[in-house]
Every structure is written in C-alpha cells, then in structure tokens.
C-alpha cells in the first residue's frame, strides 16, 4: 500500500478517534471503567484502520457489502478456512491488494492450535484450501487451458495440429489421469515421471503419421471431457500444460 493511502487511513482513523473523544466528555466514576473504555476504543480504532486499509487496497465494487462482511467476520468463532477463503476471494490476483490478502490468508491458516505447536500451514489444510478454490472454477478454465495446449502444439501456426500429435497428447493425458489417485500419494510421482520430456517425445514418435489434422474444437472437447470427468485433477492439468509448453519451446 503506498504512503498516500496510508496517510489517508491514518488521518481518517484519527478523525474518527477524535470524534469519539469529543463525545465521551465528562469524568468517569471509576478508573477501571476508564481503562476498559480506552482499551475498547483502541480495539475499535484497529478495526476501523483494518477496514479502511482493506477497502483502499482492494477497492471492492460494493464497499458496503464488504464492510458488512468485514464486521461479520470479527467474531472469534469464524472458521479459519472460511476467513482465509474470503480473504483470497476479495480481489482478483491482478489487483494490488491481492498479495496482501494472500499473506493475511496464510497467517490465518498457519496459526498454531496452541503455543506448543509450531506455526505453519499443514499440507492437508493447504490441499483443502485449494480444493475449495477449485470447486468454484467454471468449465471455461478447462477450456482455455486446453486451448493454450492446442496452440502450443500448433508449431506451424496454421491452426491445425497433426492428428497423431493430438491423439498422442490425449492418450497421455488419459493415462496420467488414470494413474493418479487421492489415496496413493506416490501416484503423483508416477505422473511426474510420465510427464518428463523423454516419455512425451517417445509417445509422439510412436504414433503413426497422418496428414489430416484434428481441429482445435475436437481436441479441446476431448481433453476437457477426459479431465472434467475424472474429477478434481486441476493440479495435474496445470502441471501438464507447463510441462508440455515448457518442453516444446525448448525442443522445437
């Protein structure tokens, strides 16, 4: 957050604090009431400051809804996962405030259960977190990933890819998806092995040459079908695209 924004927030919080002091007025009967009120007012000040800094960083379209949610989350009994998910979903990742939100989400998730436990995000927590994010992913994302995969394979840039290449890639994807499973963590190691450049090159070589190309639409539908029906294979798909695109650019 730049210094200008910080100054605004600081001034705004000061204004609000001054208003508080003005209306408090009078003398309080007891010292402890005074102390608890001061503690409370500093707590309120902190809330206001946090609310303003999040607003300025994220610039939500509906700030009132945002504030409603913000103050709704002040309660202690809100699930940490929900808090983290809401922090991540406040703004798009291209926004300035996103990295701040991601850091806050990490801090929420990594809080230890007690002083004896070390702080940090457990693998299981992380995976559930990703699952929740991916569960709301629309099919369009699979479509665009498949499109980019097609473009990568289209080395001659004429919007056609040889059928054998398409079929090789599709077969590889299906095999990979059949290999991996939630229950067996080592299956991911097998998947990684299959995605190595040598194996991919071998797969491409082994398919027969055919001059008729597969249209991009057909390629996309078959890749999307195979990935979507095998469930939550998002991580695998991301790995596939990066592996294939990275490797193809290196080789050709």
């Amino acid at each position: 957050m730049n210094s200008g924004a910080y100054i605004v927030i600081h001034l705004a919080a000061q204004q609000i604090a001054m208003k508080e002091k003005q209306t408090k007025g009078g003398g309080w009967a007891q010292e402890d009431i005074k102390k608890s009120r001061l503690a409370e007012s500093s707590q309120v000040n902190n809330w206001i400051k946090n609310a303003l800094s999040q607003l300025v960083a994220n610039r939500p379209d509906d700030p009132i809804a945002f504030l409603d949610q913000f103050f709704g989350n002040l309660g202690e009994n809100t699930n940490k996962m929900n808090q983290a998910l809401e922090l991540i979903s406040i703004s798009h990742h291209s926004n300035h405030g996103f990295s701040q939100n991601a850091t806050s989400a990490y801090e929420v998730l990594s809080q230890p259960k007690s002083a004896r436990h070390p702080a940090g995000v457990l693998g299981g927590t992380y995976k559930t977190f990703l699952d929740h994010i991916c569960s709301s992913m629309p099919v369009e994302i699979y479509l665009s990933i498949s499109e980019s995969l097609y473009k990568v394979l289209d080395s001659s840039n004429d919007n056609t890819v040889e059928k054998q290449v398409c079929e090789a890639v599709i077969t590889e994807l299906e095999e990979i998806l059949n290999l991996s499973s939630h229950l067996d963590p080592t299956s991911y190691v097998n998947v990684g092995r299959k995605l190595q450049p040598d194996y991919l090159a071998l797969a491409l070589k082994m398919s027969a040459v055919n001059t008729i190309g597969l249209s991009d639409a057909k390629f996309i539908t078959s890749t999307v079908d195979s990935t979507v029906t095998t469930g939550n294979m998002t991580q695998v798909l991301f790995t596939v695209v990066t592996a294939v695109s990275g490797d193809c650019y290196q080789r050709f």
Binding site: I9, A12, T23, R59, D62, P63, A65, L67, M81, H96
Partner: protein, 316 residues
C-alpha cells in the same frame, strides 16, 4: 458521458473495470462511496447507544449496523440530515416509506399532501415540510397542500424530489435562464394546443415578429423546445458535481414532446419507468401495491459463505 455517470451517479456502476477503480485516489474512492461518513456514523451511534446500554459489545453493534446498512433499513427513525446525506440513504428511505405505508394506498384512500408529510414524520422525526411542498408542486403544478392525491402519485413524485433534489433545482435555474433569453428577441409563433386565451392574443399582437395565422389566433408558446432545454441540461451535467439521471432517460423524455414547460418535464421524469428502475428501489407503478420481494442490495458473498459453512470442517 458514461464515465461521468459512474462517478457522479449515486449508485456504483455494476461493471467497473479495474482501471476505473484504481485510477481514483484513495480519498476519492472513499468519498465516492461515503465510507468515512458511514464509519463515523457507526461510531457515533455506538457511543449514543452505550449511554443507555453500557455493556454493548462493539463488534456485535458494528455487525448489526453494517448489516442493516446493506439491507437498506438503516434510515428508519433517523434524523433528516442523515437521510439526505448519501444517495444510498435517500433511496433506502424512499423504499422504507413505500414498505411502511403502501397499505394505505391499497384501500384506495386519498390523502392530502399535509397528511403524507405526517406519515413521513413518523419515520423521520424532523422531515422538512418544504420538500413535501415541492413534491406537491410536481403533482399539482402548484403548492396545493390540501389537495388530495393517491399514494402512488405521491410516492413517485416524492422519489424524484428527494433523490434528485439538486438536479431539479439546477434544471429550474437552467429553464428560467433559457426562457428569458428565448423570449426577448423573437416574437410569437403558433402553438398547436386547443386552449385559447383572449388576453394573450392582444399581448401577442402587440409584439414584433412574424406570425402565421391559424384560425386567426396567435399565442405565445408555452415552455421551451425540448431539445434545446435537454441539451442545455445535459451540457450542465458534465460540469457540475451533482447527481443526475442517466442520459438515456432525458433523451427519452425529449423525444416524447417537442416542447415542454418545466413542470411538464418534471412530471415526465416522475412518471418515467426507466428513471424508476435506474434508482432501483421501487417497483414499477403497476406493482406498487404488491409485496416487496427482495432487499435492494444483493451480494454473492453471503451465499458463498453459506455454501462453505455447509461443508464439513477442514482439519486444522
């Protein structure tokens, strides 16, 4: 024009691009949405409430404050200064007035404007009479506080008067200015209306200028050319920072009549369904006696939160 509508119209535009949002300075962004006003008001309300209920939990208080703010119920029983402070407040108040008193209209009772003012005072203790008088002018073209009117007529005129008060004042000034410049150099031309006026005939005959006889009567034209007036209004809208209706509404009114008086223009605005839906708190006039369906603000966040909570707890 649309950029102006985004920053100057009370409601935030639904499709703000990222660039628009971040091109504003933090101060401008906060001012545009009246955020500091609401935060200060929340604290003031908390302090007032604490005097009677010292054990109130501030977190809970703020939760309720912002929840009612979002639903649009926050202006009930508040002072007039707060009601008129932001577009959201004005719109919420109009909607609250409709929800509270639409039963009166249902039974077909006609009330006079003074009685509507009393109703307003039930939900806003210091609601001023002059705003209600201005509303009466829209309905009756004169300050007729004892004339009877239906709830629907009053409601839509009131909505226009309260939500666009500054805009109407500005239009009135523009209209008067244009009228004085238009009348002076030229003479009279024919009006197509049926009404005739003997004294106007003699006055018109006395003025210079060409007249084209139609049944032998010449009369001064009422009002201004719609296009001329609406153009002047739209030009003004770009310079000054008050809230104004969407340009499409004004152009629509302009197209319906080639000439209009100021009150003809205002009445057309009050009856305009596109204006009503752009404000977005009242139903179309035909449904004014139906029950309200949903609160004025919807968010996808609340439903998403409910979905997440429905899942089983994540292992920590």
């Amino acid at each position: 024009m649309s950029e102006y509508e985004q920053t100057k119209n009370g409601r935030t535009a639904p499709n703000n691009t990222t660039e628009d949002k971040f091109s504003l300075t933090p101060e401008d962004y906060l001012a545009k949405h009246h955020i500091l006003l609401y935060l200060e008001d929340a604290i003031q309300q908390l302090l007032d409430f604490k005097e009677d209920y010292p054990k109130i939990d501030p977190a809970q208080f703020f939760q309720e404050y912002f929840s009612t703010l979002r639903k649009g119920n926050h202006t009930l029983y508040r002072e007039y200064q707060f009601v008129r402070a932001t577009p959201h407040n004005r719109a919420s108040f109009i909607r609250s007035f409709w929800i509270c008193f639409r039963q009166i209209g249902k039974s077909g009772d006609l009330l006079n404007v003074r009685e509507y003012h009393s109703l307003l005072c039930l939900i806003c203790p210091n609601f001023p009479l002059d705003l209600v008088q201005k509303t009466a002018c829209i309905i009756f073209l004169e300050d007729a506080m004892d004339s009877l009117t239906s709830f629907a007529d009053f409601l839509y005129a009131f909505q226009l008067q309260l939500y666009y008060e500054e805009f109407l004042d500005r239009c009135s000034d523009i209209y008067d200015k244009l009228l004085t410049t238009v009348r002076s150099p030229r003479g009279t031309v024919y009006i197509p209306s049926a009404s005739t006026n003997q004294s106007a005939t003699t006055a018109a005959a006395a003025l210079e200028g060409t007249t084209m006889p139609l049944e032998g009567i010449a009369m001064p034209l009422e009002g201004l050319e719609s296009k001329h007036f609406v153009d002047a209004v739209m030009h003004d809208m770009q310079d000054i920072g008050y809230r104004y209706p969407p340009a499409s509404v004004l152009l629509d009114i302009q197209s319906k009549a080639s000439r209009s008086t100021f009150y003809g223009f205002v009445v057309a605005l009050a009856r305009s369904e596109s204006l009503n839906s752009s404000i977005g708190v009242l139903p179309p006039r035909t449904e004014v006696y139906h029950d309200p369906i949903e609160p004025i603000r919807k968010s996808s966040h609340s439903s998403k939160r409910a979905l997440i909570k429905a899942d089983k707890e994540a292992p920590d």
